[in-house]
Symmetry: C2
Subunit: 222 residues, 2 copies
């Protein structure tokens, strides 16, 4: 449907992008990320340094891109394939949690490397912004019964909020990693907040948005 013949042009383009991704990640783990020049990445991928940043605006973006890959489309697909009786809030939460968890499980070493360097950490956080457009589309799909494009506006806000919540969760998950801090923190009330694994952080961050999703799904005035 979308790509009967993807075209030679597009294929070479994706190949170059993939080569740059791989080269950037490989060099970053071999030597330290700070010991990698753009020239090195470009040379390893067989292109000019100028071409390199036709694809990536920064060194960190290229490295992180190897891990981030096409997370956007996978999340959107997961939400689109929801059981239809499940609420939008649950569908979005599950999709986000699963994709980030899978990515987290896949390459521990790389993730650890990324969380170490502040620059890579920031690039990793910025990369989550990429899920917003497809998320907007799929949420708008779920809100299609709303009149006019009122649902479209709501979808944009909800998608942006989800991205914001994910960012908060990732920040909360990255902070203890950066410092040598206990995995649990005790608050004044005596309650123990695990501040735990990535999935827990994500679910905790997305939970406050559930009422907004429910209200949007059932219409503003039912």
């Amino acid at each position: 449907m979308t790509t009967p013949p993807p075209g030679l042009r597009e294929r070479k383009k994706q190949a170059t992008r993939e080569a740059l991704r791989e080269a950037a990640l490989r060099l970053a783990v071999e030597r330290g990320p700070d010991q990698v020049r753009v020239e090195d990445i470009a040379k390893a991928a067989g292109v000019s340094p100028r071409t390199y940043n036709n694809y990536f605006a920064s060194r960190e973006q290229a490295i992180v891109s190897a891990v981030t890959a096409d997370r956007e489309v996978r999340i959107a697909a997961a939400v689109a394939a929801r059981p239809a009786e499940a609420s939008l809030a649950d569908a979005v939460t599950d999709a986000v949690v699963e994709q980030y968890t899978n990515a987290g499980e896949r390459e521990h070493e790389t993730l650890l490397l990324i969380t170490t360097r502040p620059a890579l950490r920031d690039a990793f956080l910025d990369a989550t912004a990429g899920i917003e457009p497809p998320l907007t589309a799929v949420i708008a799909e779920g809100l299609a019964e709303r009149p006019g494009d009122a649902g479209a506006h709501t979808a944009r806000v909800l998608a942006a909020s989800v991205v914001a919540a994910v960012r908060v969760a990732l920040e909360g998950w990255l902070r203890p990693t950066g410092e040598a801090r206990a995995t649990r923190s005790v608050c004044a009330g005596g309650l123990v907040v695990p501040a735990g694994s990535l999935p827990d952080q994500l679910r905790a961050a997305l939970a406050p948005l559930a009422p907004a999703f429910d209200a949007a799904e059932r219409g503003t005035q039912p």
Copy 2:
């Protein structure tokens, strides 16, 4: 309370920052924003170019900073001074709308200049991220009755969502300005969506988040 004697050091620092702000904005409107070198701004403010980006990470940031000023503290103050019987959602919405409206009214010419150049437009959007920390604090204040720091986590998510919604509103408001498009757009359903003034856009974008605020304020399981 906070600054009985602000200290000589801090005063000079703020003076330098103010001088850089003013110089950047003045030069940007005199010549085009693209015809302003960092060296010029620094020279006009009487400091070294190197000192300049101890204060601002980019040219655009300095220019926009003159308009943005201390919007963070004003929004936080406005929310903190809410009528106590008003809901958190209303308080936050009113505070945000008023501050952005006032800033918008103040200097039409400057705003128009900013919205013209894409780089300044992006910097202006990024500047809204600055309201998140104080907003988080003041929302957490409003959710103080929640046990432990569960309210704190919720406050972070809500504040981040507000920032995201504001960004969506600003994008929707900036897009028609950039192109020569009609101020109203007709959708498939025949409904006319004004896509109107900044306050309208802001309220429309913040409305979907109101249920989340209400749920958080009354507690998850009341």
